[in-house]
Symmetry: none
Subunit: 225 residues, 2 copies
DNA sequence: CCCCGGCCTCAAGAACGCGTAAAAGCCGGG
DNA sequence: CCCGGCTTTTACGCGTTCTTGAGGCCGGGG
């Protein structure tokens, strides 16, 4: 059975999640602050963590760091609509996805399933990522579309590679810029816009309405399979 | 029994790996710094090495170079999440795979099995690679075209051999330069242009439009069969 | 309602990397 | 010592890629 650790200081949210998750067959653990969350995580080894950023004791980002110190358990962040810089920090610290409060239960459940599925896939270590319209082969560094190879420049490939290694996961602008252009260019978000436009022209069926290379405004980009 | 050398300066990581690997039937050796790692490797001839990049005495890349000086033992590198350039250096220096800390034990075990399997396959490996216009015989170091032998200089052969051992795969300029000219010449990409032009004149039907020795601008070269 | 921030698109010059040729340097054998 | 084969170096034209700036669009907040 899949186990979930829910961390939030608002009892009604914890209760709602416990009810919904249990009903769907998840094993639910809970914590109301960062400190006990870390303890429960070590004890219970959950398969996924749902973490509210606004905890009473520890900053959410530090909780993420504490978990990432010893594990790669997927973390889904909950946060209020306003603190958007906190969300980006959380992603950079190693969170896998985020959901804005107030949230629909269906959305959260979908992201939870995706996070768990992704984690299983990653541990298998498959070097080929496939979408409905194109295929990324990480081992030989090729992209094919309709059986037919698409040429990517080094910069384009750098972006595709990072996203394809984190399918479904939201990757922050900072991380992309840092890994492709280096630490000196972490603020050149215009580069990303230009290159994502280029990639969509090459890879998407309808570049104006991308289905796989998704922008999350203010946050980063996501590769949907 | 398969033997593994674990090199890391963090005792808790070494301990965790020792326990998990022993339980799965591996013979485990350990070292806490680069110098003793090289010693133990020489003594114990492990089948695979797990190497942390952040060692106290020697830079991880130099440890890789030290091992590669006399052996082709597969090396799996461990490293912290942030330094992505270190990753590239490590792979270029001859590491076989790369796992970011923190890592899941399952993932590491999978990569370990893969590394050992690849190594066995390579040692058994098929010594002849064939294309539509020429044949590379890796066992006797000869190339034939129309039944009729083509003479290659030592440098030319070095390039052909690396590419032929990785058919279809993109091989980086750095890796080619490193393996053929040595670590001091990893930036002399002009050498590659000169030699690839030469090889194409000797091997391709139409040297101006190569079908097998393919340039991927800015990235490297690829051998297409 | 307007303003503003973030995003998409387009285009043009600069910078870069590639292929090619040919000269110069190196080295061992005759 | 001279010669031939191999490697290294230099030079240049050319196409591609990267960078940068400007303009337009959209949605949220004041």
């Amino acid at each position: 059975m899949t186990s979930v650790l829910v961390v939030d200081d608002e009892p009604q949210i914890v209760r709602a999640l416990r009810i919904n998750l249990s009903a769907r067959g998840y094993d639910v653990m809970t914590a109301y602050d960062g400190k006990s969350a870390l303890g429960v995580a070590v004890e219970g080894k959950p398969d996924v963590v749902v973490l509210d950023l606004g905890l009473p004791d520890i900053d959410g980002v530090d909780v993420i760091a504490g978990l990432r110190g010893w594990s790669t358990i997927p973390i889904i962040v909950l946060s209020a609509r306003t603190d958007s810089s906190a969300k980006v920090e959380a992603l950079d610290a190693g969170a896998d996805d985020y959901v804005t409060k107030p949230f629909g239960m269906d959305e959260l459940l979908a992201r939870l399933r995706a996070a768990v599925r992704r984690n299983l896939a990653r541990e298998a270590g498959d070097p080929v990522v496939e979408t409905s319209s194109f295929v990324v082969d990480l081992a030989v560094k090729k992209v094919r579309r309709d059986g037919h190879e698409v040429h990517l420049t080094p910069t384009e490939w750098g972006l595709v590679e990072i996203l394809a290694r984190n399918p479904g996961r939201l990757v922050s602008q900072k991380q992309l810029l840092q890994e492709v252009w280096g630490p000196m260019h972490v603020n050149e978000s215009q580069y990303l816009r230009v290159y994502f436009a280029q990639l969509r022209r090459k890879l998407e069926d309808d570049p104006a309405h991308p289905r796989h290379l998704i922008t999350e405004p203010g946050m980063g980009y996501r590769f949907e399979m």
